[in-house]
């Protein structure tokens, strides 16, 4: 159980890092909408529309690290099964 919690913590951090890298290493806040600018050629105005897209930010990484710390902390409440009792 101890190992499982620690493994989960590691998977959580590596997974979150992977998502952050894959969505563009955004160093700002997490976004679920991405602005798209479209130029109106007649007026010269740049209109802004939003496309639904998940972009992980540093808050996403922070939450994953926090989750990993909690899981690692919880792992200390479990004893190793393979340890022999001291007589």
């Amino acid at each position: 159980m101890k190992k499982l919690f620690r493994l989960l913590a590691l998977v959580l951090v590596i997974g979150a890092l992977g998502v952050w890298l894959a969505t563009g290493m955004n160093r700002g806040w997490t976004k679920t909408l991405v602005p798209i600018k479209t130029l109106d050629e007649v007026t010269g105005i740049e209109g802004i529309t939003y496309k639904k897209q998940f972009v992980a930010g540093v808050d996403f990484l922070g939450a994953a690290v926090l989750g990993a710390v909690v899981l690692t902390g919880l792992s200390f409440f479990f004893r190793n099964k393979n340890k022999q009792p001291i007589n």
Binding site: R27, W29, T30, L33, P35, V42, G44, I45, I48
Partner: protein, 202 residues
């Protein structure tokens, strides 16, 4: 003699018709009109925009100093890319979009007009209303009058276009937007940029 008078009258009437102020409707059928805003914050500046724009402006290309009208932005159309910030923006702490559904600017006076070709720059004084608080402010505005260009934008329609561009700043505490709160997280200053086109059909 009668013919000459008739020709003169028709010329004068035509000139009067061209010189008459035109009313431009800013409800954009193409959805390009937008008002964007920027607020400084420690990690990343908060950038957003609103596309719920409507209103009418009366503009006379021969006399831009007579410009009058009102532009309205729907508060609920304001969008920021972060879902949590979006919720906060429309919520009770910030703009209270349900209670104050509109942000408006009503032009009252136009000064310092300078016209070059079809472009006029001016200082427009008007009443800016945000979250129920109205204040008179003066903002720099650039008007671009595009004669007979409506058909290029909206097929099968004839008329003129008026493009309005303006950038100005307001203080959120002046408009009761979380006054004095979260100033370490979100700046008091809000930068606003308006880029909108209105149509006057013939």
């Amino acid at each position: 003699m009668k013919t000459r008078l008739a020709i003169l009258a028709s010329i004068l009437l035509t000139q009067a018709a061209f010189a008459a102020p035109q009313t431009f409707d800013f409800k954009d059928p193409k959805g390009v009109n937008s008002a964007s805003f920027r607020v400084d914050a420690p990690l990343e500046a908060v950038n957003g925009s609103a596309n719920g724009i409507s209103g009418t402006i009366t503009f006379d290309p021969a006399n831009p100093a007579d410009t009058k009208g009102k532009i309205t932005v729907t508060t609920a159309s304001m969008t920021v890319p972060n879902p949590m910030m979006n919720g906060h923006l429309h919520g009770e702490m910030w703009l209270e979009a349900t209670k104050y559904p509109e942000i408006t600017f009503e032009a009252k006076e136009v000064k310092n007009t300078k016209t070059t070709d079809n472009v006029t720059t001016a200082d427009v004084t008007g009443t800016f209303t945000l979250k129920g608080v109205s204040k008179d402010i003066t903002i720099p505005v650039k008007f671009t009058y595009l004669k007979d260009k409506l058909g290029d934008r909206v097929p099968n329609m004839k008329g003129d276009l008026l493009v309005i561009r303006s950038s100005f700043s307001i203080s959120r505490k002046d408009y009761n937007v979380a006054p004095g709160k979260f100033e370490d997280k979100v700046s008091d200053n809000i930068d606003l940029t308006l880029s909108i086109a209105g149509a006057s059909a013939k």
